[in-house]
């Protein structure tokens, strides 16, 4: 039981009956326990800890404010009632009025014939109007029964039961229903129900009515435990009227720590048919999925030792117009790495991998690879040199009966110097560095044409690749090499903090021998002496401007093979312009991509994107929308069109009204805006 604090009672006139009862009248003010009650008259019953006050009462406490007619309050249980209240409650200052308010314990209220809004006083843009309204600030949940959402005086939605957030912290229940349309499905209605099962566990059950197809159920269940977390998503449409049968998608992701250094995880994804995501995904990131992993791992790391055991298989979603190769399953894959401590400056790396490759149609088998290497990193403030020798050992046991082995010595030297100069750039004390780097690799040639290809591919040529031993990813091909990479990097960083503000780099690889190991590309001929040349530049040259660009030309600098430019101007949140340009001759890409979020008046913002393929003279994605920030609400209207597999397009349309902190009505474009407009800022 709470002990009553000091009581201060002020009034024009106070009459008492002993110590148990007091009657005050005329400009009454009662202060106690941090609560102040003002009224024309007030009666205080000390033994029962009851208060009665009227005719007009004003109750204030820690930013909460209740004004109304007659008040009855029983202080120990915090129960009672207030006639004709106007209220302003909670951190977010939710406010409104009612015919009657019942106190139901600390920070809990029940109101009859009530209105609720998060708009400021004087702005009556929207209300939840309810026959009965419960406001529970201990859980930050509001429940409205027999309620209507009224926007600018117009009723938008009636619901017999509506639960909503009082602080914007949780996804709300029926207040995030969604109405929209997508090209292939027609009109859509989603009515999600959020179930806050426990503080560390929740579920969202969302029936989705797709007019041309039928009723779908989306269920998402999330949980969080001590050193573990997971999410389960199941979507099912019992009968798709267009497709002709039941369809579904399943995803389980789970991560868990078992003991210090020991972890396990699962990522299981499955769908019933190849076109599932193209038909139901309303975002490119969902609709474009082609490979669904089904994998589990167990990893252990302790000090300098690490090991991962993994089982992995993919479901491949085929598009008849563009069939793709089915990847090998690795059942299982074991990788081990260990760096025993050696006296400085020596460093020993022991890497090993054993995999059993499985495939429905292609050659399968087992592969064991071990790669011990000894290096001698020597580092000074002004530069470094790292010689390294290693022995790459591979053994294959193939299911066609063959056994293959390959042992390759690998030698490399990496070295670099750091030069600095101090100076003034962009009006600040800066240090400019000049960092030349040279990297030599020598690997003898072994004929590998009889070897299978389970997981190898030619890696992109970039700065990370330039300084690696092998141009192939995976372990099925080890290139022969007698080559030298030269690169020059210059950075600009702030003298007093070391923060990097800009960077330019240029690099190229020089070959002393022709290349003979190939995967399926043409071998490099004898007279090719240099790789492509790469130049990049990036940084924040001026306040509010970000840029980075990269160019890859052929060895002589005659032809541009790849080019990319990203430019962003963002003077403030909600004011953003992006320009991107991409060129890739290999994949036949030439695109320009403009996106923006820009205020056109104090309250209106335009959001737009145009991703235009110059090569194909067509738009790959376009988006246009308007956002209106009404202070205590935001309205969004977004129309999008993007290409999906099989040369089809999807055109979702989003209409959303967000009532600040409480919930959202309509279809939600926020995820789409975040993905389409890099740097997009939510207005409220």
């Amino acid at each position: 039981e709470e002990v009553a604090g000091p009581t201060v009672l002020q009034a024009d006139k106070i009459e008492g009956t002993g110590n148990t009862e007091a009657c005050a009248s005329g400009n009454v003010a009662l202060d106690r326990d941090g609560r102040r009650i003002e009224a024309q008259w007030l009666k205080l019953f000390e033994t029962t800890r009851e208060i009665r006050a009227g005719d007009q009462t004003r109750l204030s406490q820690q930013g909460d404010l209740l004004e109304g007619g007659e008040l009855y309050l029983k202080e120990d249980t915090r129960t009672g009632e207030l006639d004709a209240p106007r209220y302003r409650l909670g951190q977010r200052q939710g406010r409104g009025d009612a015919v009657k308010l019942l106190f139901e314990g600390k920070d809990k209220y029940r109101l009859n014939k009530a209105r609720f809004t998060t708009c400021q006083v004087g702005q009556d843009d929207w209300f939840i109007r309810a026959r009965e309204l419960e406001l529970d600030y201990t859980r930050n949940v509001g429940v409205a029964r027999n309620s209507t959402i009224e926007f600018k005086g117009v009723p938008l939605l009636y619901s017999p039961y509506l639960d909503f957030s009082l602080d914007g912290s949780r996804k709300s229940g029926f207040l995030s229903s969604s109405i929209g349309s997508s090209g292939s499905g027609g009109f859509e209605l989603i009515v999600p129900y959020y179930w806050n099962i426990a503080p560390n566990m929740d579920a969202t059950i969302a029936p989705r009515l797709i007019s041309k197809r039928g009723l779908m159920f989306n269920n998402e269940f999330r949980y969080l435990g001590k050193d573990m977390a997971g999410q389960l998503t199941v979507e099912t449409i019992l009968k798709d009227r267009v497709y002709g049968s039941s369809r579904s998608a399943f995803r389980l992701q789970h991560e868990q720590g078992l003991a210090p250094g020991l972890r396990t995880g699962l990522n299981l994804q499955k769908t019933t048919d190849d076109r599932y995501f193209a038909d139901f995904g309303d975002r490119i990131a969902v609709a474009s999925q082609t490979f669904l992993p089904r994998e589990g791992y167990l990893s252990y790391s302790h000090g300098n030792f690490g090991a991962v055991l993994r089982m992995q298989r993919y479901q491949t979603l085929q598009d008849p117009t563009n069939p793709v190769a089915v990847p090998y399953a690795r059942l299982p894959q074991l990788t081990v790495n260990y760096q025993p401590v050696l006296p400085a400056p020596f460093r020993l790396d022991l890497n090993g991998e054993a995999v059993s490759f499985h495939h429905p149609t292609q050659l399968t088998g087992e592969r064991v690879v071990a790669y011990p290497s000894l290096s001698m990193p020597m580092e000074q403030a002004w530069g470094f040199v790292t010689p390294k020798v290693g022995l790459h050992l591979s053994h294959y046991k193939l299911d066609d009966g063959r056994s293959l082995s390959r042992n390759l010595p690998i030698f490399s030297v990496d070295s670099g110097l750091y030069f600095d100069r101090e100076g003034q750039f962009f009006g600040k004390d800066m240090v400019q560095s000049l960092e030349p780097r040279a990297y030599y690799v020598r690997i003898p040639h072994r004929d590998q044409s009889a070897f299978p290809n389970f997981d190898s591919g030619v890696a992109d040529f970039n700065f990370a690749q330039m300084f690696s031993e092998n141009q192939y990813t995976g372990s099925d091909r080890i290139n022969d090499a007698n080559q030298l990479t030269l690169a020059l990097t210059s950075r600009l960083f702030e003298a007093d903090s070391g923060i990097e503000r800009a960077r330019v780099a240029v690099g190229q690889r020089f070959y002393f021998d022709r290349q003979r190991v190939t995967l399926n590309e043409a071998a490099r001929s004898q007279d090719t002496s240099a790789s492509d040349l790469i130049a990049t530049a990036g940084g924040q040259p001026f306040d509010h401007w970000w840029m980075d660009g990269a160019v890859q030309t052929d060895g002589n600098g005659h032809q541009t093979r790849k080019a990319a430019l990203n430019l962003r101007y963002q003077p403030e949140a909600g004011k953003l312009l992006n320009l991107r340009y991409r060129l890739d001759r290999l994949t036949d890409i030439k695109q320009i991509d403009l996106s923006a979020q820009w205020p056109v008046s104090a309250r209106w913002h335009v959001v737009a994107r145009q991703n235009w393929s110059i090569r194909d003279k067509r738009s790959l994605e376009r988006l246009l929308g308007l956002e209106y920030n009404g202070g205590c609400w935001v309205f969004r209207m977004v129309s999008q069109r993007f290409v999906t597999s099989g040369n089809q397009t999807s055109s979702p349309f989003f209409l959303q009204l967000e009532l600040n902190d409480v919930g959202r009505l309509g279809s939600n474009p926020l995820q789409t805006l975040k993905e389409s407009i890099p740097g997009y800022t939510k207005l409220n």
Binding site: G261, I284, A287, S288, T290, F291, S299, S301, G306, Y314, N322, V324, A325, P327, P377, M378, E379, A381, W382, G383, F384, Y418, F419, D420, R421, E422, G423, L434, F454, D455, S456, G457, A459, D460, N462, A464, T473, E494, D496, S497, G498, E500, A564, R582, D584, L586, T587, D588, I589, N611, S613, D616, L620, E621, F642, V643, T644, S645, G646, N647
Partner: protein
């Protein structure tokens, strides 16, 4: 042109001679530890014994579609790597919690999923090493915690 070899010109020593690196296992912390252990002017010690503690608060990796072709197939992804760190020297926060963001683009090949997965790992390693270097450069820029005593100008 004013360039001089780093460490041979107007260089100042690190603000501390001993450092502890606290980080989740198997990530940026390992790379930082490896790179810092090569410095002759710095000793890595346990948290209780070190003058300063460099903490990697978290690391996150995100993968986004960068380019699609005319058939709606993904041809390029962008990896976005974020690392949050701070540096404390005794009770003083020398570098408040700071996030580094690095990006790498790579082309996607639908007929070589496993190879691209391995390439992703190479790029993640590259970004970790890049992040480690950026952090070390910020450590090197710190001035010693206690400024040398300079007498106040005499009052007029």
């Amino acid at each position: 042109c004013g360039f001089h070899l780093r460490g041979l010109g107007s260089s100042t020593p690190l603000a501390f001679a001993t450092l502890n690196v606290t980080a989740p296992a198997g990530g940026l912390g390992d790379v930082l530890g490896r790179q810092l252990s090569l410095r002759p002017d710095l000793k890595l010690l346990a948290a209780k014994e070190a003058e300063a503690v460099l903490a990697v608060e978290n690391e996150a990796l995100d993968k986004q579609i960068l380019t699609v072709n005319k058939s709606g197939r993904v041809t390029e992804y962008q990896l976005i790597y974020r690392a949050r760190f701070n540096l404390r020297q005794g009770a003083v926060e020398r570098i408040p919690s700071t996030e580094l963001t690095l990006r790498r683009d790579y082309s996607f090949d639908e007929n070589n999923v496993l190879g691209k997965e391995a390439e992703e790992q190479i790029l993640v390693r590259d970004m970790r090493s890049d992040a480690a270097q950026q952090i070390i450069r910020r450590l090197a820029a710190l001035k010693p915690a206690v400024a040398p005593y300079t007498p106040a100008p005499a009052a007029q």
